[in-house]
Symmetry: C2
Subunit: 199 residues, 2 copies
């Protein structure tokens, strides 16, 4: 039988995607599931729902709870957490770079590093400088990577990812989709998604 796989759809601006991105690789290893990482943009999807910003900003009680809840979750997982001054961040460039990295084999480390600086160190990942620093620490030539990230090929690949996410009925991040088409939304559904992937 083929190794079970799970598609991991994520947007770098998403808060709960931070613990999900940190947890998924070790949990998938234990479960014997191969994970495919798919960055996409939530902006167009939220816009289709009539939202111009994060629902956590639109609904303040929900937002207050989310920040406290995320802090508790990071505490339990011993993940660094600092509430970012800027939220949500425009993660277009960060996502394009992820596509380059995922094609070249260093993408998962890069994704974890972006989430960690954004939600663990209050860094602004909109800034090319922040991304450059992350790339350099990973041993990548930032200039070369950033040029490739702004190529038409990568730009249209990210657009295609977002369109595919919409086609899959994805409405938030993180989302996990099994090969049988079962959709699980939220960091708290990761274990259930991995279980389902093995069915």
């Amino acid at each position: 039988m083929a190794v079970p796989t799970l598609d991991f759809w994520f947007e770098f601006a998403s808060t709960y995607s931070y613990p999900a991105a940190m947890r998924i690789a070790p949990l998938a290893k234990v479960a014997g599931v191969t994970v495919h990482w798919h960055p996409f943009m939530l902006g167009p999807i939220f816009k289709a729902q009539g939202w111009t910003t994060s629902p956590f900003n639109l609904y303040p009680p929900k937002g207050r709870n989310m920040w406290r809840d995320l802090e508790r979750i990071c505490g339990t997982l011993q993940l660094p957490f600092v509430r970012p001054k800027l939220f949500p961040q425009n993660t277009l460039l960060a996502a394009r770079v992820a596509l380059v990295g995922l094609a070249e084999g260093w993408g998962e480390d890069y994704c974890r590093a972006i989430y960690r600086v954004e939600f663990g160190e209050d860094r602004n990942v909109e800034e090319t400088e922040t991304i450059t620093e992350v790339l350099t620490k990973l041993g990548q030539d930032a200039g070369t990577v950033l040029t490739r990230a702004q190529s038409d090929e990568i730009k249209s690949q990210l657009r295609a990812n977002t369109e595919e996410a919409q086609r899959l009925d994805i409405f938030g991040s993180p989302t996990f989709v099994t090969t049988s088409g079962e959709l699980f939304w939220g960091n708290d559904r990761l274990d259930a998604a991995l279980d389902w992937a093995k069915h």
Copy 2:
């Protein structure tokens, strides 16, 4: 040391409150936590957020996922599940009756029975007939209970509950609040809430 307590805030129209209501008593018993049940109305709270119906109706992809997710959760917990034809249901009378029952000692059984017929048998709990049937099965005199449920005392108690929920920054159901004021939202946060209550 006093026995730790946890406040359980719930609205009968809420889908994920069904598994939460079914799970909370046995889990709290194991955790050594006393639970206080507080019915409230989500309508005024949703209205304050600009919603005239359930967000699961307002955002169709979110709604489709919720029904499938709830079905999976009920499957895992071996709880009966039938997607109700009417959603959300107006649970004003059901909540008033809950207040009578909670004061008289049969309220928790009543709450579980209401959730079970609503989400496990596709019954309409807006109807007095359904509530009467539930009460009768619990050995209550439905006429007496319904009269008390429509008293000014109970009506204002439910209004006070809803106002208290808003004051506590509650924005959804189920919500769990510890004596230290820690708020946990969602069936998937029940275990964390019980852990926190023991702190």
